[in-house]
């Protein structure tokens, strides 16, 4: 785990970097005066400059004053990743695989591996929540959630 100070400085520098990206994007457009007033790049360029300046100022301040303490408690990175990685896999598989199957797999994984639920309970959560979503979105609101190749192959969609 990096220290608080390293984290503060990196995030501030990242903000300054983001400002630079915004500036570069803005420079592709007219950043001065056009026939319709300030050009398309006028506003973003100034936002980018301000963002970079603020980020650098923050980085400088945190680099100079020593923030004591840790960024997070020991073991936090592992706990956060164990929650984030499966969630990220679920998020990016919705578009190619549909919402329902990845959701069920995710809930079974989290229920068994993280919450240490018994099989019946884990399955109940993993089938119950998607079932509820089906009733709310597909049946009630007519906003069908994404379906994937498996549903098509089974011929239920």
């Amino acid at each position: 785990m990096p220290g608080r100070r390293a984290a503060e400085v990196s995030v501030a520098l990242a903000a300054a970097g983001a400002g630079l990206v915004v500036m570069l994007g803005a420079l592709r457009h007219e950043t001065g005066w056009t026939s319709t007033g300030p050009g398309a790049g006028y506003f973003p360029l100034r936002i980018g400059i301000l963002l970079s300046a603020t980020g650098l100022l923050l980085a400088l301040r945190h680099g100079m004053i020593g923030d004591v303490g840790r960024f997070a408690q020991p073991g936090a990175a592992r706990r956060v990743l164990r929650l984030f990685l499966p969630t990220a896999i679920l998020a990016v598989s919705v578009a190619p695989l549909g919402a329902y199957l990845p959701m069920t797999a995710y809930l079974i994984w989290m229920g068994r591996m993280e919450a240490r639920l018994s099989w019946p309970r884990a399955v109940a959560v993993a089938l119950g929540l998607p079932g509820l979503f089906y009733l709310v979105f597909d049946v009630w609101l007519f906003v069908p959630l994404a379906k994937g190749p498996v549903e098509r192959w089974l011929g239920i969609w």
């Binding site: 457009h29 506003f43 973003p44 963002l51 603020t54 190619p96 979105f137 906003v143």
Partner: protein, 504 residues
Amino acid sequence: MDDLSVLLHGFEVALTFHHLTLMVAGVLIGILVGVLPGLGAPNGVALLLPITFTMSPVSAIILLSSMYWGALLGGSTTSILFNIPGEPSSVATTFDGHPMAKQGKAAEALSLAFLSSGFGALVGVLVVTFVADDIAGFALRFSPAEYFAVYLLAFCAFIGMGGADPLKTAVSLLLGLAFASVGMDTVSGEMRLTFGQDDLVRGVSFLVAVIGLFGIGELLATADDTEVVEGIRARIRPAAVLRTLLQMPRYAVALIRSAAIGVWMGLTPGGPTAASFMAYGIARRVSRRRHGFGRGEPEGVVSPETADHSAGVSALLPMLALGVPGSATAAVMMGGLMIWGLQPGPALFQERPDFVWGLVASMYVANLVALAIVLSTVPIFASVMRVPFAILAPVILVVCLVGAWTIAGSGFDMWLVLAFGLLGYLFKKLDYPVAPLVLAMVLGDKAEDAFRQSMLISQGSLGVFWSNGLVGSITTLALLLLAWPLLSHLLRRARRGTPRETAA
């Protein structure tokens, strides 16, 4: 308000069976959202927005605003019983609310919090009722320059008075403005900041940002902590509520002072979070009972709760009348308004009085409904907190991801929501405020348009922002607020330099 008939008509709109049902539903969802970690009022509104697209705007805003009132109350519940603020604006309630609960006065603390909330909400909605028309009428005279000045005031108020580190607030705000400018430029039609990515042409959805920042980010930050949740069981009996109600006059001064702070912070976009901290801080300094603060002093519950709710309610007024939301939740609602095809601003009062006054009337009714529901259902909702986080978190994350998907059914949004989740986690860990980013994303385009139109009128002279007394004073006030952190720092240093000042 010129005559009572518009408000009465509003009550006719609000008091239909359909709308009362929506209020009850909204409040129940709101309390749940307020109690659950990772789901707060802004996120709740963002998640519910896609399902309001098929409703009439009045019904939709009644559902969303009722959810907001419920969420504010739910947030206080977990503050008192679990020492976990369900909403950022109920952090100050933990200081004295949780100690009270530990001393066995949980029911008293809860009913005190709810009744103070009710009082705060009532003051807020009364102010909204009586000054709404005046503010809208005043704003009718606004030209683009005045509008830009007001947006600037909103941004600067966050930096100067938001309570967080001014530089970090500025980073959050500027990032939001940058995200807002992604996509097609409304004036020239050029594609900005898309870097050739087709997915970015639509722009970055503020709803995706809200769900990522408030939902996923919050949960990741919670997973980071290992603290064991120790809740206190409470049941509120009608007799206890009545007893607390009879005690309320004892806190009259705190109630009125906190409501005034709340209304002020709601109207000038400081938001409920800053309002509740400020009300608590001032009460701790000036109260006769200040020595008990932090150890379970009832006034330490009354003050932040009153301010929280009066700010939450009055934050809707600048959103409706000026198009400048006074809180993150109001910002998300305003985004909703624009999606429903309504233009917030003074014209709304003339074109859609049924919408405006239906909402105002619903605020009276829904707050009463919310109070009644929360008093009777606290034990049920508190039991949600006893579900282990390890299973609660994945369930809430699934809700967030499905919410992000239903906005546009876009696979790219799913990557975005993850990125915003990580950003929210870092922001939370390093004390960057999130609300300014959301406000800036919603207001960015409007602020830029107002700026470009004013510059066109003035042929490129910045003098247009001081061209008359009104716009000049708003702009000057904004710049003063921006400089306030620096000024107060210098003042403090100057005062410390004088030898008369001894102990600080």
